[in-house]
C-alpha cells in the first residue's frame, strides 16, 4: 500500500488495467498521503469523500479501456468543476460553485479519472511563487519555507510531494514550467489553441493555456493527449490533427536540429544555470541530435511586452467581478461604491496592481504608446521564432534564471519577481509549446530545469526530445518527506 503513491501515472494505469490494484486502493493511498501533507498547503478544496465513492463505483464496473481508469487526480483551482468550489486563489471567488465543467477537466473525467480536490495557486494565476494566493503560501516539498514557484504552485507541490499522481496547471507566462522547474517535475505548456480555455478562469486570454504537470515525460504525454481536443466553445481552439502523444513517444531524436539562442545567456545568470545548459547541450548531442547556435534578437523585450499585454487583458477580463452576478460583495452606499469596495476588498494586492497597469495602458492617450507598441513588439518576438525555425526543429534553454527561492524573499519587489519568467514568457507571446524537464541540482540540492521550445503544434517533437534527454539525465528528486510527522 505505502508504495502506491510512489508509482508513476503510467505504472498506476498499468496496474489498474492488469487488476493488480483497484481504483479504491489507489485513491485511498493518495487521500491518506494528502491528509498527512496538510503542511504543504497544496489543496484549497479537498473532495476526498466523493472521490472515494467514485472510486468504489468505478471498481464495481471498471471500464479498463479508458486512458485514465479510476486514477485519482487533483487539479489547479483555476479550472471550473461542476458543483465543486472554484476560487482561482481569490477571496472574490471564495464562495463560487460552478454550475458547469471546464472542457479540459471534462476530458479527464471522461477518460476515467476521479477528482481528488482543487489545488492552490496564485490569485487569478498572477504570481511566480504562489504567495499571492488568498489561501496562503504553499510549501515546496524540496525544502521547508521554499516557494514551489507559481502560479501553479499547489499543482507542482502536489505532484512532487506525491499527493496526486499527475495534475494540470495553466501557463500564461511560465506558470506551469517555472513551478515544474522549482520542484523537479515535468511541465508542458501546449501550443496556444491546443487545449480549450472553456471553463478556465480567465487571466490573459491571448496567452492562457492549460497543460499537464507530471513526474516524468511519458505521464506528461499521456495527459496531454487526453486534454488536447478541438472545442467549439473556445473561439481560439484550433482544429488540427492531434497526435497520440504517449503511443508515438520515442527516444529516437537522431538528426534533430536543436537551436541554442545566445540571448538567453542573460547578465547575472548564475554559473550553475550556464553549466546546466551546457550539460543539456551535451545530452542532446549524446542522443544523436545536432545543436546549432541561433539568435532570437528581441528576447530581452519579451518581459516588458508581457507586462503590458497580460495586465491589459487581465484588466478587461476581471471587469466581470463586480459583486453582482457571483462572488464576494462588499457593502456600499450606492452601486458605484459597492463596486469599488467589492473589488478593493475582494482582490489581493498583486491583482489590483495588474488591473491598474492594464487599465492605464489601455486608457485614453496611452493606448498607442503602450498597448499598440507592445503588440508590435510581440510581432517581432514571434518573427524571431519563425526565422529560427527555418533552421532548427526545436530550441533548448534553461527554464528559469535561478532555482527556487525562500518564501518572502521577493515579495517586496515586483520587478525582481517578474524576472523569474524571463525564459518562459517569450514562448507564450509567440503561442508556442514549451516543456520543462528536471535536469540537475544546484549547490543547495534544489532542482533546476531545462526548457525545450517547439514549433506550433509540434508537441510530439518536444516530448520526444524531453523523453530522450530524460533517459540520459536520469534525474532523481531529493525529497525527504520532511513535512510528514
Amino acid at each position: 500500500m505505502s508504495d502506491i503513491t510512489k508509482q508513476s501515472l503510467t505504472e498506476l494505469v498499468k496496474n489498474i488495467k492488469d487488476k493488480k490494484l483497484s481504483s479504491t486502493e489507489v485513491t485511498k493511498a493518495f487521500i491518506e498521503r494528502s491528509e498527512k501533507s496538510k503542511e504543504l498547503n497544496a489543496y484549497i478544496t479537498e473532495d476526498f469523500t466523493t472521490a472515494l465513492d467514485k472510486a468504489k463505483k468505478f471498481d464495481q464496473k471498471p471500464n479498463l479501456d479508458l486512458k485514465l481508469p479510476g486514477i485519482p487526480m487533483a487539479v489547479k483551482d483555476l479550472f471550473c468543476t461542476k458543483d465543486v468550489k472554484t476560487t482561482a486563489g481569490s477571496k472574490i471567488l471564495n464562495n463560487f460553485v460552478p454550475t458547469y465543467e471546464s472542457t479540459v477537466t471534462d476530458n479527464i473525467w471522461r477518460e476515467g479519472a476521479i477528482l481528488l480536490g482543487k489545488l492552490n495557486c496564485d490569485e487569478f494565476a498572477m504570481g511566480s511563487s504562489n504567495e499571492t494566493s488568498f489561501f496562503g503560501n504553499v510549501q515546496n516539498p524540496i525544502d521547508k519555507d521554499l516557494v514551489p514557484g507559481g502560479s501553479s504552485g499547489g499543482s507542482a507541490s502536489a505532484v512532487a510531494g506525491q499527493l496526486t499522481p499527475i495534475t494540470i496547471g495553466t501557463d500564461t507566462g511560465g506558470s506551469i514550467r517555472q513551478p515544474a522547474s522549482f520542484t523537479g517535475t515535468v511541465g508542458l505548456k501546449p501550443t496556444y489553441g491546443s487545449c480549450s480555455r472553456y471553463g478556465i478562469v480567465a487571466f490573459a486570454s491571448s496567452l492562457d493555456q492549460a497543460g499537464p504537470m507530471a513526474q516524468n515525460v511519458k505521464d506528461c504525454a499521456l495527459l496531454q493527449e487526453v486534454i488536447s481536443t478541438y472545442d467549439p466553445k473556445d473561439s481560439t481552439s484550433i482544429d488540427f490533427k492531434r497526435n497520440q502523444n504517449s503511443k508515438e513517444l520515442t527516444n529516437n531524436i537522431k538528426g534533430k536540429k536543436i537551436g541554442i539562442p545566445k540571448e538567453y545567456r542573460v547578465d547575472g545568470m548564475p554559473k550553475e544555470i550556464e553549466d546546466l545548459w551546457q550539460k543539456g547541450i551535451q545530452y542532446v548531442k549524446d542522443c544523436g541530435a545536432e545543436t546549432i547556435d541561433i539568435s532570437l534578437p528581441h528576447t530581452s523585450y519579451a518581459l516588458p511586452t508581457y507586462y503590458i499585454v497580460a495586465p491589459a487583458e487581465a484588466s478587461s477580463n476581471l471587469a466581470r467581478y463586480d459583486g453582482v452576478k457571483y462572488g464576494f460583495r462588499a457593502k456600499g452606499e450606492n452601486l458605484i461604491d459597492m463596486y469599488e469596495k467589492t473589488r478593493s476588498e475582494g482582490f489581493g494586492a498583486e491583482v489590483q496592481r495588474r488591473i491598474m497597469i492594464g487599465t492605464y495602458v489601455l486608457s485614453s492617450g496611452y493606448y498607442d504608446a503602450y498597448y499598440l507598441k507592445a503588440q508590435k513588439v510581440r510581432k517581432l518576438i514571434k518573427n524571431d521564432f519563425d526565422e529560427a525555425y527555418k533552421k532548427v526543429d526545436a530550441i533548448l534553454t534553461p527554464s528559469t534564471p535561478s532555482s527556487a527561492f525562500k518564501i518572502g524573499e521577493k515579495t517586496n519587489d515586483p520587478v525582481s519577481m517578474y524576472l523569474n519568467d524571463i525564459f518562459t514568457v517569450p514562448v507564450n507571446l509567440a503561442g508556442l509549446p514549451g516543456i520543462s524537464i528536471p535536469a540537475g541540482h544546484d549547490s543547495k540540492g534544489y532542482p533546476l530545469g531545462l526548457q525545450i521550445i517547439g514549433k506550433a503544434f509540434d508537441e510530439q517533437n518536444i516530448l520526444n526530445i524531453a523523453f530522450a534527454m530524460e533517459e540520459k539525465i536520469n534525474f532523481k528528486n531529493k525529497i525527504t518527506d520532511w513535512w510528514i510527522k
Binding site: H298, Q352, I357, Y360, L380, Y418
Partner: protein, 95 residues
C-alpha cells in the same frame, strides 16, 4: 516617466477599485518601477511593424444562431450574492 498620485486616483476610478492615500502611495511606487522596466520597449523602432493581435492563425468559425442553453435561470442566479430568484439585486440606482 512618473505616475503621480493624481494619475493613480484616476486609474483607480477607471478600474472601480477604491484606493486610500496610503495605498495610492504604495501603488505609485510599484507602478513607477514597473513602468521604468517597460520603457525599454522605446529602444525599438516599430513604425512599420504590424501589431500581433492573436497568435492563433485562424478565422472565427460561423455557427448557426441557435439557442443551446434553455431554462438555466436557476443556474445563472445560483452564485449571486443577492437575488430575488428571477433577478440580481443591487443597491438602488434610481431615486
Amino acid at each position: 516617466m512618473s505616475i503621480d498620485l493624481k494619475t493613480i486616483k484616476h486609474i483607480s476610478k477607471l478600474s472601480r477599485i477604491s484606493v486610500d492615500e496610503k495605498k495610492a502611495e504604495k501603488l505609485a511606487g510599484d507602478l513607477n518601477s514597473i513602468f521604468d522596466f517597460i520603457e525599454k520597449l522605446n529602444e525599438l523602432k516599430t513604425e512599420n511593424v504590424e501589431p500581433l493581435t492573436s497568435v492563433a492563425e485562424t478565422t472565427l468559425k460561423l455557427r448557426p444562431d441557435e439557442v443551446k442553453s434553455k431554462n438555466i435561470r436557476e443556474q445563472i442566479v445560483k452564485n449571486s450574492p443577492q437575488d430575488n430568484e428571477d433577478y440580481f439585486v443591487v443597491p438602488k440606482v434610481i431615486e
